[in-house]
Symmetry: C2
Subunit: 200 residues, 2 copies
Amino acid sequence: MEQRQKSELTKALILNESFKLFYENGFKTTSVDKIMKATKLTKGAFYHHYKSKKELGVEVISTHIQKRVYEGMIKPLYEEGNALELLENTFSGRLKSFSIYDKAHGCPMNNFINEIADEEQAYQIALKRIIEEWKAALVHLLERGQQEGSIIMTIAPKAIAIYLISAFEGVRGIRKLYNDDQILNDYMSGLSLYLTQLKA
Amino acid sequence: MEQRQKSELTKALILNESFKLFYENGFKTTSVDKIMKATKLTKGAFYHHYKSKKELGVEVISTHIQKRVYEGMIKPLYEEGNALELLENTFSGRLKSFSIYDKAHGCPMNNFINEIADEEQAYQIALKRIIEEWKAALVHLLERGQQEGSIIMTIAPKAIAIYLISAFEGVRGIRKLYNDDQILNDYMSGLSLYLTQLKA
DNA sequence: CATAAAACATACTAGCCGGTATTTTTTTAT
DNA sequence: ATAAAAAAATACCGGCTAGTATGTTTTATG
């Protein structure tokens, strides 16, 4: 195989396996050994491609997790149609699309935020970038709704955006405590009601 | 010193130091050695009072963290006065009362939930109990508001309660990414707006 | 086809981890 | 005063940790 291609494939393999293990067991408790066992390669290969576990952590966040949030929660916001309906469909639809596995392990981004964001600026910056992109998309959509006359003018888009993100990330964590979806249903009722009250 | 008193004092010391270290550095990465170094006692003392680190974890949750959430977020909800004002004062007031240290490290309960709730039922149960108590207090207050005619009848108290809790816990995590309070101010604006729209 | 560089493997280190076994010190009950 | 029991200290274990040093194999290039 071509050298460059081989290198990229190996890095992608490490990235995929480490994302999965971080998601299932947390960042701190997932060792480089465990990751490389999953890839069926060795520690030598890891430290050839990454200079430290921290570097890997940042890369998992800024590629894998970023893409995941973008595809699931940001991209849909730029579609056409009524702003409030788009919001409800995106937030509720995402929750409904989750498997039991996803529900049990919460939001990968939120897990990272709560586990390691307060102890290393590099993680902080990478995670912040995702939140800011998400917030910008929400603000954009809310402003569009206001311009189109479908959302009341008395609200501050930025505040609503933060409140929407907070509640979503919050409930993804709280769901971990339960073995059923009642909490998600309650959340979705709460969200629905919230959005209804923004209707012009 | 009396034996019983001494034992209780030692357990309280272990509990205090471990809460602090769990809060600052996470549960998994705080070792029994580190905790006992903080208490200036030894490992022998620890394993005399606790049969495992897991047992300590559960006790920290069901005593220390439970009390903290109760005092800060639940007890105030049972005070007299307008329901919506009580809600806003409790949620916003709590955020405003936090030190930089508290803001940087997020909510101890939420940290536990996101770090270890998905891997051990004992933690899950202890944490769930706190959330349920909080939820019950919120539902009670919202129902009182409805009975008194200060909150619209078209909302489902349980759904609102979950949405309020989710957003609060969510923002405590997201705040970790920032070094200023703008995100908290945005959250408080969002909350205020939300509550205004529940007004009868 | 030789040489260099990249990709990966093997073997190792010092230190930390939760937990245990054993001993010493302190308190209690008689 | 003394024996028993509780509290705490000491010393240890096997296994895991991030990271390093040094090999071997594969690919690229002249």
